[in-house]
C-alpha cells in the first residue's frame, strides 16, 4: 500500500520467502567495496587485484557451504538468471545429445517460463506430477528419462507450500542414467544443509537476498566437467560463463550472509520450526475450516501455508497489512495475470481454497510475540470476511 495514513504503527514482517532484510554484518562487509576497494576485477593494477581477491574469497566461502569447489561457483544477478542459465545453457550445450528436459509442475515461474520458451524453440519438456503434499515421485523421474533426456530440474523446496523434495533420490537416478541434474535451491540455501555430492547435483541455483544478503546477486553451482553455454557473452568474466563487470560489493555481502548462515543455520532453523509449529497449531485450533497446505514433516522450517474457505486472499493480506502484518497469497486477485497459484492448483486444492490461501514465512528476526499477535488477530479477520461472503456457512 502506498498510503502512509494506513500504515500500521506495529510492523511484523512474515514474508521472508519473498525477500529478507540484509543482515547488518553483511552490510558492514560490503561498504568498503563501494568507494574504497571499488576496482574492476579484470584490471591488472592493485585496485583490480584487491577486488579480485575479495571475489575469489567470496567464491570459496559460498562453495564451502554446499561442499563444492570454488571454481564450480558462477556468480549471477539472481536465482532467475541462474535458473535461466542452467536450463538454456544445458539445452544449447547438449543439443546434439538430445532435446528432452524434465521439470516438475511446481517449479518457480522462472523455471516454468524458461521451459515453456525452450518448448517453443524445439525442446521437449516433461512435467513431473506431484501428490497432494507437493511431493515429486522419484519413480516417475525414472520412467520419464529416455535416450534424448539431457536434464532433470526439480526444486529443492517449494517457495509457496514449503515442501522439501526428495532430491537425493532424484539425483541418484539422474547420475545412474547419465543425465544432468539441476536443483533450484533458492529457498533452502543457507536454511538447511546442502551437500552437492550427497544429492548428486550437477547444477544448483541460489540467491543472496533470501538469506539476509543483498538483492541483485545469485549464483549457479556448475559441477566440474559439465558443459554449458553462456547467456551473456562478453569480456571473459566468470570463466567465460558470464560476461559483465562483477558486482563485487553484492558478492561480498552474499558471502558474508553465507558465512553467517553456516554458523547460525542450525540454531535458527530449530527456533523457526518451533514458531512455525506454534502458528500451524494455533491456526488449526482457532480458525474453523482452515486447511493446512504442504507436507507436515518434509517442510521448510520457516514456511506456513493455509487456505481459509470463503475468505479471499488479497482481502486477507490487506486486512493483515492494515494491522502491520506482512504475508502473501496465491489468490488470482493478487496475481498480475489474474491467475491462481500454479502450485496450489497442482496440489489439487479447490478453486475457493486457492482463492483464500495465505503464506506466512518466518525469519531470524521473527519473535514469538509476532506469532502470538497473528494468532490474536487472524481469527477475527477471517471471520469478518466470511461474514460478508455470500457463501458463508
Amino acid at each position: 500500500m502506498n498510503n502512509k495514513k494506513f500504515m500500521a504503527k506495529k510492523r511484523i514482517y512474515l514474508d521472508y520467502a519473498a525477500t529478507t532484510p540484509v543482515d547488518p554484518r553483511a552490510i558492514k562487509a560490503m561498504l568498503p567495496f563501494f568507494n574504497e576497494k571499488f576496482g574492476n576485477t579484470m584490471s591488472l593494477h592493485s585496485f583490480g587485484q584487491e577486488a579480485k581477491l575479495a571475489l575469489e574469497k567470496s567464491r570459496e566461502q559460498i562453495a564451502d557451504l554446499i561442499k563444492a569447489k570454488a571454481n564450480e561457483i558462477i556468480f549471477t544477478s539472481s536465482a532467475t538468471e541462474s535458473n535461466n542459465l542452467a536450463l538454456k545453457g544445458i539445452a544449447f550445450a547438449s543439443r546434439k545429445k538430445g532435446n528432452h528436459i524434465i521439470i516438475s509442475l511446481i517449479e518457480h515461474p522462472c523455471i516454468m517460463e524458461t521451459a515453456k520458451w525452450l518448448e517453443k524453440n524445439g525442446f521437449e519438456i516433461s512435467r513431473l506430477s506431484i501428490d497432494k503434499y507437493g511431493l515429486v515421485d522419484p519413480e516417475e523421474v525414472k520412467k520419464l528419462i529416455k535416450k534424448e533426456t539431457i536434464l532433470v530440474s526439480v526444486m529443492h523446496a517449494n517457495n509457496e507450500i514449503g515442501t522439501i523434495e526428495p532430491i537425493e533420490k532424484i539425483g541418484a537416478i539422474c547420475k545412474k542414467q547419465g543425465v544432468y541434474f539441476h536443483t533450484d535451491a533458492t529457498q533452502t540455501f543457507g536454511k538447511i544443509p546442502i551437500d552437492v555430492n550427497k544429492i548428486n547435483a550437477d547444477l544448483l541455483s541460489a540467491s543472496s537476498h533470501k538469506l539476509y544478503g543483498p538483492k541483485g546477486v545469485g549464483c549457479l553451482f556448475i559441477r566440474e566437467g559439465v558443459k554449458i553455454t553462456p547467456l551473456l557473452h562478453g569480456g571473459g568474466h566468470e570463466s567465460g560463463l558470464r560476461g559483465a563487470t562483477v558486482n563485487v560489493s553484492g558478492i561480498v555481502g552474499f558471502a558474508k550472509a553465507v558465512e553467517l548462515a553456516k554458523k547460525e543455520m542450525k540454531k535458527e532453523s530449530k527456533q523457526l520450526a518451533k514458531l512455525r509449529d506454534k502458528l500451524i497449531k494455533g491456526i488449526s485450533e482457532n480458525i474453523r475450516d482452515s486447511q493446512f497446505n504442504g507436507h507436515p514433516e518434509k517442510r521448510l522450517p520457516n514456511n506456513i501455508n493455509f487456505s481459509f474457505s470463503f475468505a479471499e486472499g488479497e482481502s486477507l493480506v490487506i486486512q493483515l497489512d492494515l494491522l502491520g502484518i506482512a504475508v502473501s497469497t496465491g489468490s488470482a486477485c493478487s496475481s498480475d495475470k489474474l491467475l491462481p497459484s500454479h502450485v496450489l492448483s497442482a496440489i489439487k486444492l479447490k478453486p475457493y481454497q486457492i482463492h483464500g490461501s495465505l503464506r506466512f514465512s518466518l525469519g531470524k528476526w521473527t519473535k514469538e510475540a509476532d506469532v502470538d499477535y497473528v494468532l490474536k488477530v487472524l481469527p477475527n479477520i477471517v471471520e469478518k470476511l466470511r461474514e460478508i461472503s455470500p457463501y458463508k456457512k
Partner: protein, 160 residues
C-alpha cells in the same frame, strides 16, 4: 492508476464497506461472478415509489467473496444507486465507480464491471418478478452473466 496499489478511498471503503449485508425481503437480487479471478458478488434491492410516483431504489445491500477492489467497488455502486430511479441507476458506469474511488489499478477495472453487473441483475430480477418490460440491453447482459455464473457456481458447488 496503472500501478498495483490502491488509493486511500479504496482502502476506506474496504475497511468500512457501506451497505454491507442482506435485505430480508428484497424486491430484486443480482448474483454475479467473475470467471477469471473467481470473485462473487450479490446485490439486494428494495424498490419503492417516490413522491412523483417514480420507482426508486429505496434500500440496497451487498455481499461479496472477493478482493479489496471487489469489496470497495460494491460499496461504491450501492452508494451511487441508493435513492436513484431505476433508469438512473442503470446509467451508472464503471467510470463513475472509478472516479468515486479516486482510481483503480488497471488490473482491477474488471471488479467495477462486476459491481455494475450485479446492480443491473438485481434490477432485471425486480422487473422480471413484476412482469415488467425489460430493456434489451439488460436481457443481453443477463444471458451473459448467467452463463458465467453457472460455470463459477459449479466450481464452488460444495460451498453451498
Amino acid at each position: 492508476m496503472s500501478n498495483r496499489f490502491y488509493t486511500k478511498k479504496v482502502i476506506e471503503h474496504f475497511k468500512n464497506p457501506h451497505n454491507l449485508g442482506e435485505l430480508e425481503n428484497p424486491d430484486g437480487i443480482g448474483r454475479v461472478g467473475n470467471l477469471q479471478c473467481g470473485d462473487v458478488m450479490h446485490i439486494y434491492i428494495q424498490v419503492e415509489k417516490d413522491k412523483k410516483g417514480k420507482e426508486i431504489i429505496k434500500n440496497i445491500k451487498f455481499k461479496a467473496f472477493g478482493c479489496v477492489a471487489a469489496l470497495s467497488t460494491s460499496s461504491v455502486v450501492t452508494d451511487l444507486a441508493k435513492g436513484k430511479t431505476l433508469d438512473k441507476a442503470l446509467q451508472i458506469n464503471k467510470e463513475n465507480i472509478i472516479k468515486a474511488l479516486g482510481g483503480l489499478p488497471l488490473i482491477k477495472i474488471h471488479c467495477s464491471v462486476l459491481a455494475i453487473d450485479a446492480l443491473s441483475e438485481a434490477i432485471y430480477d425486480y422487473l422480471k418478478k413484476n412482469k415488467r418490460k425489460i430493456p434489451e440491453r439488460l436481457k443481453t447482459n443477463h444471458k451473459r452473466i448467467q452463463k458465467e455464473l453457472k460455470i463459477l457456481e459449479k466450481r464452488y458447488a460444495d460451498l453451498k
